[in-house]
Structure formats: C-alpha cells, structure tokens
Symmetry: C2
Subunit: 129 residues, 2 copies
C-alpha cells in the first residue's frame, strides 16, 4: 500500500498534526489531540484512534488505560492538510479523562468558564487508582 | 471585566491556541484555525470569530475578504485548557477559501484522499480576483 496519503499531511515543526475526534452519532466534538506519522498510520491500519502523547512523549492508544477506545469510521483532512478529523464511535460514551462524555465541558458564561457537562463515571473507577 | 478567563488558557510556545469552529445547526466541523490572546478577546467582545493568521502574521477577522463571517454563539474550552471550541453561524454557508461549506472536504478512501464535498461558489467570485 502506498503511503502517499501520509505524505499529503503537512506535519508541523515537531512532526505532529492536530486530530479532532467527533462522535459519529451525536456529532459532538469529543476531544482534540495530536498525531505523528506513525500514530496516524496505526490509526488507519488498526481502525482505532492512536495519538501521540506530547506530555509523555510516546504513542497513546486511546483507551489503553481506561478501556475507552475510539473506533474510527472515517478520516478527513482539511484544505491546508494540516488538521485531521476523525469520526469515531466512542466506547463507553466517555472520551475525557475526567469521566465526561467529551473534553469540552466548560462554556464561557458571563466571563467565566462554567462546567456544564456531567461526570458520568468517577475517574478513580475508570483508572483503578 | 476580569480577564481571568483568558488566563485560564494554556497558550503554546508561540502564544497560540487551536480554535475549532463548529456549525451550530448542522454540527459539522467547519474549520480549525489559531488564536492568540488578542484575537480570542476580540472574538468574545465582537461576537465574531477573529483568528491569528500564522502565514500572514496578523489578526484575521474571518470574512474580512470573503464576507463569510462567523457569528459566535458559544465558546468552550477543553479539559487541558489548550483547545477552544466555537459554535458559530456561518454567513453564506461557506467557511472554506475553496468555496466549500467546510474545510474537511477530503476523506480517506482506499488509501487516497478523495474530494467529497462540492464547491458551492467559485473562489474567484468570492474574492473578486
């Protein structure tokens, strides 16, 4: 299989590209993380989202600790080829490490960030801490 | 008005944060661009999306050339406070400089990026070139 599709991507100066994960059913934005070439290739080959953890400096198989994997149904790239969009099925319905459906749970209201999405499962129970 | 909400944001080493624009009605992801502190403050104060153009190195009032402004209905931030999500009303229904509804018009099919969204308006007509 040719890797032309990977060469299309305009990787940033760190060799990364932002990847947005959108719930395929609700259309909600679950999260945004980063991918390097290897993780994007693995995402395609395995059918599950694999990111690059900038904080840990290693591949991050989404769900490896939590069990909350993301099955990838489609992948898109934007006009500048520097952002990737995944439509995913979110296992457990929880994408965020805080135990919420998605990571965008704070909304700006009257000049303050207000938490407006519920915690669905205690992170301690998710990660067995 | 306090600027605590701006201090919450974890700006990257270039003073920027990725901003995802989502169509408030269809839920489609229109585009992802970048904001610095000034552009995010202006977005809130004007109610219209203002980005930071990395290629031009200046503020970019979305729609300043095309007329395709984005009216911002809500702003969210993610768990790590390093990504912003805007729910917007897209004037003209065209977010992309290619004349398409959104920038994610290429999908990976059988190992190739395939254009699957139509051009709604000729860019030459949009930008008067």
């Amino acid at each position: 299989m040719t890797e032309d599709w990977l060469d299309t991507i305009k990787w940033d100066d760190k060799g990364l590209v932002p990847a947005i994960a959108q719930d395929k059913d609700s259309g909600k934005i679950l999260m945004m993380a980063w991918m390097n070439r290897e993780s994007l290739a693995m995402t395609k080959n395995t059918g599950h989202a694999v990111y690059w953890s900038r904080s840990r400096g290693k591949l991050w198989h989404k769900g490896e600790s939590s069990g909350h994997e993301q099955t990838v149904h489609s992948m898109r790239v934007d006009c500048d080829a520097d952002v990737v969009l995944l439509r995913v099925e979110q296992k457990g319905g929880i994408a965020c490490h805080t135990g919420r459906h998605n990571c965008f749970y704070r909304e700006l209201r009257e000049g303050e960030w207000v938490e407006i999405e519920p915690v669905l499962k205690d992170p301690k129970a998710i990660y067995g801490i």
